[in-house]
């Protein structure tokens, strides 16, 4: 990629160093804590599925039972596999059922019993993570057998609430040109502290993320990928209170991309900051292993704040997401950093400002599959004007080499898209791609001109904000309302009761495999180490 903005590499390096410095204490916190959802994810990866007659998953029942008996400071695995061996249960499901009836006496085993429990748990987790590895290979095989679409990938959303309605809609969208299908989740699933079970046919403005729904949709899109000779990727949401579990299910069912932001749940869903960061690290380790591209949610900042005034908060969040992502093992090619075309069209030079922001992000993250989001805030109900705005968004996307284009709907904010809205949206992007797809190679903003200056200004503001975050500490900055406009104290929000400090001897057989990269040929997972800030005046 050619550089067009003449950014100073020293300034860019300084921004990364500041982000790493701000993030490092959070990583330390995540490494010394666990959460109920991380522990439940361990059980899911070991193959525990299903729910009790009330629909509460067995992973929740078993984790709760262990927590009541021994606490989770040592992790769920030691007491669970110890009880599994001691009680002679057939499998985790039988153990969970007995535990739910209060028939299991859990303990923290010691000596040879602990060694036996560790060994058995490690075998079970190696098998589960082996399945994730097999899925990664299967994705590669599918891409070789079909083809990998050229970028920008076209990203379309389906959301009927009924997985059996979603499937034909997703297949139709793929036939019409969508490269990525995202199944939007039911409103409020992020606040459930369990993952619903089975195929679901009812949701609030979206479809529940469940393992069975994942499996059904991936199978349907495999069929369509073969039919079209083009691999159609599937996206869902690893966010909210069950982030680690949903990430695990995505790996187990070969989803290709997952929304997974470092701060979205904190700011927009009032989920406890510590819970979020701990859950996030584990979920990203899974995503790294599964070859899943994460999508971050910086576009959301621009729906609450002004897209010009808050442009630098997007860059700061992207740098934080990059730091946390790489620390968890994600390669550059897995960092689908988000941003959006949300400047008020009434602002003079709004398109130039959009170009400056989009190009800045492109140059800061040259190897990341950037996800560019269409206008939503200034879609007024005038569908004709909205269609024009979406065309400008598409144009900005191709001019600045964005990797993933979420396709804008002219009926944004009016209703879930009609079939025809989607068809017109695809016609829009096809036209722009065919007509101007190569415009990027001729797009050279005037040196020192408006676009270059604006980009540099946003970068400078980003560095200013990163310095303030470093002065305060990231958790305090979040508590002070630095992101979005809401104040989210470190001990507030939902899910704090699910955060547990690790004891000496904490055992997580999944993390052990994920952190050593055992048995996987990992991508570029260069660790970002906070460097010296000397000279960063």
């Amino acid at each position: 990629m050619q550089t067009r903005l003449n950014l100073d590499p020293v300034v860019v390096g300084m921004a990364r160093t500041l982000a790493a410095k701000a993030g490092q204490p959070i990583v330390e916190m995540a490494k010394t804590h666990t959460t109920v959802s991380v522990e439940r994810a361990v059980l899911r990866l070991a193959g525990l599925q299903g729910a009790d007659p009330d629909g509460m998953p067995w992973v929740n029942r078993l984790t709760d039972a262990v927590r009541d008996a021994t606490g989770l400071e040592h992790g769920v695995a030691l007491p669970a596999w110890d009880a599994l061996i001691a009680g002679g249960y057939d499998d985790l499901a039988s153990l969970a059922e007995a535990a739910a009836l209060g028939k299991v006496a859990f303990r923290i085993p010691a000596g040879p019993d602990a060694a036996a429990a560790r060994a058995a748990a490690s075998i079970a987790l190696a098998r589960g993570i082996g399945r994730i590895d097999a899925n990664r290979h299967q994705r590669q095989r599918m891409i070789e057998q079909t083809s990998d679409p050229r970028k920008p990938w076209i990203y379309l959303i389906v959301a009927t609430g009924d997985i059996y309605e979603d499937i034909p809609q997703a297949q139709a969208a793929a036939r019409e040109g969508a490269d990525i299908i995202a199944v939007i989740r039911s409103t409020g699933q992020s606040l459930l502290d369990y993952v619903p079970e089975g195929a679901t046919r009812e949701g609030f403005a979206g479809t529940y993320a469940t393992q069975e729904n994942f499996r059904l949709m991936r199978a349907a899109l495999d069929e369509t990928s073969r039919e079209l000779g083009r691999y159609v990727r599937l996206t869902n949401y690893a966010s909210g209170l069950c982030m680690p579990e949903i990430a695990s299910l995505a790996g187990l069912e070969r989803l290709d991309m997952m929304l997974n932001d470092c701060m979205y749940g904190i700011i927009f869903r009032d989920i406890n900051p510590r819970r979020t960061f701990i859950d996030q690290r584990f979920s990203r380790q899974i995503h790294a292993r599964a070859g899943i591209i994460i999508n971050t949610g910086e576009d959301n900042y621009l729906t609450t704040a002004d897209a010009v005034d808050a442009a630098h908060t997007v860059v700061v969040s992207q740098l934080m997401n990059e730091f946390f992502g790489k620390e968890a093992g994600l390669a550059d090619g897995q960092l689908g950093l988000g941003h959006a075309f949300e400047i008020n069209p009434a602002v003079p030079d709004s398109f130039l400002l959009e170009l400056a922001h989009a190009q800045l992000v492109r140059e800061l993250f040259p190897d990341a599959p950037l996800k560019y989001m269409p206008p939503t805030k200034h879609m007024t109900g005038n569908v004709f004007a909205g269609y024009l705005l979406d065309a400008f968004f598409n144009l900005c996307g191709v001019m600045t080499d964005q990797s993933i284009l979420l396709i804008g709907m002219m009926t944004e904010g009016i209703h879930t898209p009609f079939l025809s809205d989607r068809d017109l949206a695809l016609e829009n992007v096809r036209y722009v791609r065919e007509a101007a797809g190569r415009l990027g190679e001729s797009f050279v903003p005037a040196p020192g001109g408006f676009i270059e200056q604006r980009a540099k200004h946003v970068l400078a503001e980003s560095i200013g904000l990163l310095r303030r975050i470093n002065d305060d500490g990231l958790l305090n900055a979040i508590a002070d309302g630095t992101f979005g406009i809401t104040k989210r104290p470190a001990d507030g929000g939902r899910g704090l009761e699910g955060v547990i400090s690790r004891a000496d001897g904490y055992f997580n057989p999944a993390s052990e495999i994920l952190e050593t990269g055992n048995g996987a040929e990992r991508g570029d997972s260069a660790q970002v180490v906070p460097g010296s800030l000397e000279g960063a005046a």
Binding site: T187, G188, F204, F268, R269, T304, T376, L424, G484, I485
Partner: protein, 263 residues
């Protein structure tokens, strides 16, 4: 009165011309299919009162659907004298207008305590109204600078809700109820209202907070019967709730301040 009878305006007074677009579940592949699809669109246009009509665009979408754009002249007349406007008791305000009204009328932040009461664990309704995320393209009450939101979450006991409302000096209490088995939403709301009324003297000069309930099964006309101040039914957006709170709690301010605020 002829001035009250009008038709749509295309480019000439009274020409009645309009444009519509729609999709029919018909294929648009072979010549026969295309002719049949256009005929189907013309039939729908005629039944909608478009006479004459012209299908200016037809496009197959996948094997089973066709999209049409149709122009035509509607035969219907509009009688302005029969237009009735139902006005809500409060004006719908933008977030900036809500903030301004609270600032001007209350002179401090408006405090809202929200909860799901009883056994109801379905926080989807209260979260859609309170969380920044909001719904239907509208941000939740947390987004409003002049509103301080305390979201207590699910399964909150009524006495706890009353105590917390007092501790937070709440101006309004928002309760959502999704579960409605055996009319639990009705009895829970009544119980809550009675508890607040019983505790009125504890709330000082301001009196008890404004009580607002919402949920898909509530009848908005039942507020008085339940003893609450306002009921919001299905499909309520955060903006409506914020506008109502500003209207009900922030005293009127002079017009020149209220008007002309950029969104």
């Amino acid at each position: 009165m002829t001035g009250d009878i009008i038709r749509p305006y295309g480019d000439t007074t009274g020409d009645g011309r309009i444009q519509v677009s729609f999709t029919l579940p018909v294929p648009f592949g072979t010549a026969t299919e295309r002719a049949r699809a256009e005929g189907a669109a013309m039939q729908l246009a005629a039944k909608m009162g478009l006479q004459p009509a012209m299908v200016v665009h037809a496009k197959g979408m996948g094997p089973d659907y066709t999209f049409f754009i149709v122009y035509g002249r509607v035969s219907h007349l509009v009688d302005l004298s029969e237009v009735t406007v139902t006005e809500r008791e409060f004006p719908l305000l933008s977030s900036a207008e809500v903030n301004l009204r609270i600032r001007a009328g209350l002179g401090r932040k408006l405090v809202v305590v929200g909860a799901c009461i009883g056994t109801d664990a379905h926080t989807v309704g209260i979260d859609a109204i309170l969380n920044v995320k909001g719904h239907s393209g509208e941000k939740g009450l947390e987004y409003y600078r002049e509103i301080r939101v305390v979201n207590l979450g699910s399964q909150v006991a009524v006495p706890d809700l009353v105590a917390r409302a007092k501790a937070e000096d709440a101006d309004a209490v928002l309760v959502s109820q999704v579960v409605t088995q055996r009319d639990a939403h009705i009895s829970n709301a009544s119980e809550m209202a009675a508890a607040f009324d019983a505790a009125t003297s504890d709330f000082g000069a301001r009196g008890r907070p404004l009580l607002v309930v919402g949920g898909p099964r509530f009848d908005p006309a039942m507020a008085a019967q339940l003893g609450v101040d306002k009921i919001f039914g299905k499909g309520t957006t955060p903006g409506e709730v914020a506008s109502y709170l500003a209207y009900a709690l922030a005293p009127e301010v002079p017009e020149e301040v209220e008007a002309g605020v950029p969104a």
